[in-house]
Symmetry: C2
Subunit: 304 residues, 2 copies
């Protein structure tokens, strides 16, 4: 299968610590790199990850708190220094557009490439990006400021042709796409070979959901049914339940409840408050609700 | 003597590397912390240095290239999260003022303290900050955009009183400030004790100059005569002399020539191009021109 994985570049929250960078990650899907949130230090973490700056074509920003987007102007500037020519597409709540515009005027004179800004309506669940193999959906979240998660869904693919059958029936290569598309094969003597005999089923489309930052939203589980990998913020443990609600964040148990109710395959928790020196308390809490949970950490890579 | 030292938080240049952070440092003088340039990752490096965020009252920005100022809005935001109430003073080329204003509106709603912006005229050498014991001067530099270095000069202090003499002549404590200020002491029997007998000379005022980024400016040496510690950019080695001139940067030899011609006590070079994996080539080149040269590195502390 084509690689579809998530590279965690930062999974801390707003206050700086020596354990974490602020929120940023890269979704790698079929050779393309999609950045999701872009906290301060993004260009450094990109360098550390060894991921190619050039392959980043699209950056999705969840909301306009500094720990989720202050690294953006540095990335834009560095792309320019690296001689980028391909357009860069940025998806974010609307007020970031004019801010980026004036930052670029001040800090990135004569940029060698186009920056295309796409405002995201954080109140609706809709497609914000689409290509041949992938759609990215907005996910309305419940935070202090307008905030959207992002749901990456592979499009359905064709079944796999069986090489042994091609050989057995002497099927010409020119017929492969027809068979994959669902046409039966008719042999020169008129015998019809059903296409199901010539193929193995398509890989099931995979999906990844990024949900940071948000209050506990039981309704999210509806939008996330059957998602393979869910990254959900878990800023606090349950001893700070009230604080989580007041600051529009989630506890580890709440993140795990969303994963459980959505029936996701795997949960990764992140956006840890700086108050937790030992994040195992968050992990252990989530594990009691949803067993297949991992802690995010910088440079970790999760397969979707 | 009161501490007067420079903490290097970052000494790389614009392109991200795993060896360096971009330009940023903290000048510690008599209990106050002055930040000089504030590249991306400043709040993280502040945390790493163990320096107190609260004690930073003034930030000086040399010019509006991203690698010298993109960490500023993150610092301002984090000061707010930490509950700061003391005003923060920022000294920088004028166009940063409105940019900061709109960034703060977007990212730092309800800031708990005042940010006072002081535009710096980068074309003149003049006092931009002054307190009881220190003046900070602008230093016009020759870069692609308006750019000012900063010269920190201690004010002259009083001579030190000699405790042994206080005791020998039974001088009351109330007379100490008069004697330090240069008055002779008159004993009850009318004998005059010259103040020079009662004191040891004042510590000589110390000075630190920060010069980044600039083309080689032989005239700088005039402004820097006798400076104790000079930080001068040395982006390239002499094999890139032409590139240095084209990009308005200096070579290590040129930095050392400024130090030599100004008769400074110690030179620290920094703002290294990402092309140099081994910065010893820059150090060795500078050493042939000015022997008391050191390489800057993150978390290094230099006494002035």
């Amino acid at each position: 299968m084509e690689p579809f994985r998530v590279h965690i570049l930062g999974c801390g929250s707003a206050l700086p610590t020596l354990r974490h960078f602020p929120s940023m990650q890269v979704v790698e899907c079929r050779g393309k790199l999609f950045m999701v949130d872009c906290g301060e230090g993004a260009q450094l973490q990109m360098r550390r990850s060894g991921l190619s700056f050039t392959r980043v074509g699209h950056i999705f920003i969840s909301h306009l708190h500094g720990d989720h987007c202050l690294g953006l102007i540095g990335m834009i500037s560095t792309f320019g220094l690296l001689g980028r020519t391909a357009p860069l597409h940025i998806y974010a709540p609307a007020p970031l557009g004019p801010m980026l515009e004036s930052q670029m005027q001040l800090f990135c004179a004569d940029l060698s490439y186009e920056v295309a800004f796409h405002p995201v309506d954080t109140t609706v669940h809709q497609v914000v990006y689409e290509d041949r193999s992938l759609t990215v959906w907005s996910l309305p979240l419940d935070h202090r400021v307008p905030c959207s998660g992002y749901l990456f869904r592979e499009k359905p693919t064709c079944p796999h042709i069986r090489p042994d059958m091609l050989e057995a029936y002497h099927i010409p290569v020119s017929q492969i796409n027809n068979i994959k598309a669902g046409l039966d094969y008719v042999m020169p003597d008129g015998t019809v070979i059903p296409h199901q005999h010539l193929t193995t089923p398509a890989d099931p489309p995979r999906s990844y959901a990024y949900c940071s930052d948000t209050r506990y939203m039981p309704s999210l589980a509806g939008l996330l049914q059957g998602v393979d990998l869910l990254y959900h913020e878990a800023t606090y443990a349950s001893d700070r339940l009230e604080m989580a609600a007041n600051y529009y964040h989630s506890t580890a148990s709440q993140a795990a409840a969303v994963a459980r109710d959505a029936g996701v395959r795997q949960l990764v928790i992140g956006h840890f408050s700086s108050r937790y020196n030992q994040e195992e308390v968050l992990l252990n809490e989530a594990l009691t609700v949803f067993p297949n949970t991992s802690l995010a950490r910088e440079m970790a890579v999760f397969d979707v």
